[in-house]
Amino acid sequence: MSKGILIEDLSKTFGANLVLDDVSLSIAPGEFVTIVGASGCGKSTLLRILAGLEMADSGVVACGDKEITGPGVERAMVFQDYSLFPWLSVMGNVLFSRRLAANAHDNLALERDAEEKRAALLLSLIGLSKVKDAYPTQLSGGMRQRVAIARALMSKPAVLLMDEPFGALDAQTREVMQDLVLEVARNEGTTVVFVTHDVEEAIYLGSRIVLMAPYPGRVDCIYDVPFSRNRDMSIRIAPTFLDLKRRIMNRVRDTVANSFDGVDQALTG
């Protein structure tokens, strides 16, 4: 049960700083959208507003046909790091959401053993069945992020929000994790909004790429990725992939340069 997301005329300020200026975007159910942009472009803030962790000053955000007014089970989030509960085992972390009152009588209506079955399925999907009783401190960074993903998926969210989830991982682990996310998203049919500063990651994962520009934070342009959802490593060296990567990287650089011009003008003018 995936849902789409609608963002209309969204604005947000922190103090005197306009972090999101009139952002509009519509995401189809089951779509995998990646957001890239230089730091300060408001990509993380946008994601946090979708999660309901931050409130917009004006504009509308909706998930499915419901307006977003706060955090909700149908929108799960994966953070960059430190979000696992260190006092719970891997299994305990994955099952955490099922022990909350909000999920006791949801439409999923998972019975205890159905729950355990789903947890076991997710753990095998992320390749951590063997360490289900280990504590997070005993795992590597990549393993911890895999647990965070399984935990987020446990309640079958309609939307998965990911805020630079692999930013702290080394390059090799990161590639493994990217394939994992692609596979999981395909299997679960979840709508994914994935924020990253890594352009290659954005192309490899996304079916659309939203490029945001800083000062003020806004949507600069949107790219369609000309690869099917069933993609693998080989596309990373395809000419169309490299061409798209070059175009996006140049555009990101331009948005930064333009924002400097803006700052210069503000300072001299």
């Binding site: 953070f79 790091d81 959401s97 401190t137």
Partner: protein, 289 residues
């Protein structure tokens, strides 16, 4: 020679592929390296040396005999006095009186500081209501409260417990609140996005996440509780370890003063180790790999 070198290389490369648990013996780092590690038995030996040196110095001073016994009793004097304190000077009563005062005072502090600290570290309005006021009171020395407590609570048990309470409560509340504030925001937000209510976040995320740090806070403040106990007992009491020390001074029983001090030191040491042990038992997940 080369063959040996090759062999060791092969061993070390195969061990690198092995999973982490059994860490192989590496070449030792120098003993005094910055933030270095020492083997457990080396640690114990050095701890014993640290205790033995001042003790031997004490023995030596007595053996030379320049300091009169009345100021510096010998270890044997102290030991003998301790035995007679145990057998016919009511050590048991002194000991249990003090332990119960500390326990009651500390538990009263804990019972109040724990919920308030949790509130104060979690909710800004609670912080605003509590912390500036607590900061104000905690800079008033607890010892200075003794006359007031005597006036209010009389010379009975309550005044000693009240002094311990005043000495620990305000600090404990502020330290608990800080422990709670150090819970990573990501943990709280992760729970929020999974649909946790405010109540569930406090009980199922913030409290378990802060619990190890809070136990450490208890370990530190329990040490202070002993300090304030002895102060309270020296001012107004007719039983307890602090009182026994004060009375010994009146009768020039320096050996008993020594014995009393050593007993309090040993209690502190035992208590500290017990709480460290408890920490390991309650929070096994902190060990890491």
């Amino acid at each position: 020679m080369d063959a040996v070198a090759m062999k060791t290389e092969r061993i070390s490369s195969s061990s690198a592929e092995r999973p982490p648990p059994s860490r192989r013996r590496r070449r030792r780092a120098p003993l005094w390296s910055i933030r270095g590690q020492v083997a457990p038995h080396t640690y114990v030996i050095m701890a014993c040396v640290g205790i033995a040196v001042p003790f031997l110095a004490w023995v030596a001073v007595n053996a030379i005999g320049t300091v009169p016994r009345i100021f510096m009793p010998s270890p044997t004097d102290v030991a003998l006095r301790f035995v007679s304190w145990l057998s016919n000077e009511g050590f048991g009563a002194d000991f249990w009186t003090s332990v119960s005062r500390v326990s009651l005072g500390f538990l009263a502090s804990l019972a109040l500081a724990l919920p308030l600290g949790l509130l104060s570290g979690t909710f800004k309005p609670a912080e605003a209501l509590l912390e500036p006021a607590m900061d104000f009171v905690r800079y008033m020395p607890a010892v200075a409260f003794v006359p007031l407590m005597l006036l209010w609570c009389g010379v009975g048990e309550t005044s000693k417990i009240a002094v311990i309470f005043v000495g620990t409560f305000f600090q404990m509340l502020l330290m608990f609140a800080d422990d709670v504030r150090r819970v990573p925001m990501q943990q709280i937000e992760a729970a929020q996005t999974m649909g946790a209510t405010r109540r569930e976040i406090v009980y199922r995320v913030i409290f378990p996440s802060a619990a190890p740090a809070m136990l450490t806070t208890c370990r530190i403040t329990l040490g202070w509780a002993w300090t304030y106990l002895v102060v309270a007992e020296m001012v107004a009491a007719n039983s307890g370890l602090g009182y026994a020390i004060l009375k010994a001074q009146r009768f020039l029983q320096t050996d008993k003063i020594f014995a009393g001090l050593i007993v309090i030191g040993v209690i502190g040491l035992v208590q500290d180790q017990a709480l460290r042990g408890l920490h390991k038992v309650l929070f096994p997940y902190l060990k890491g790999r």
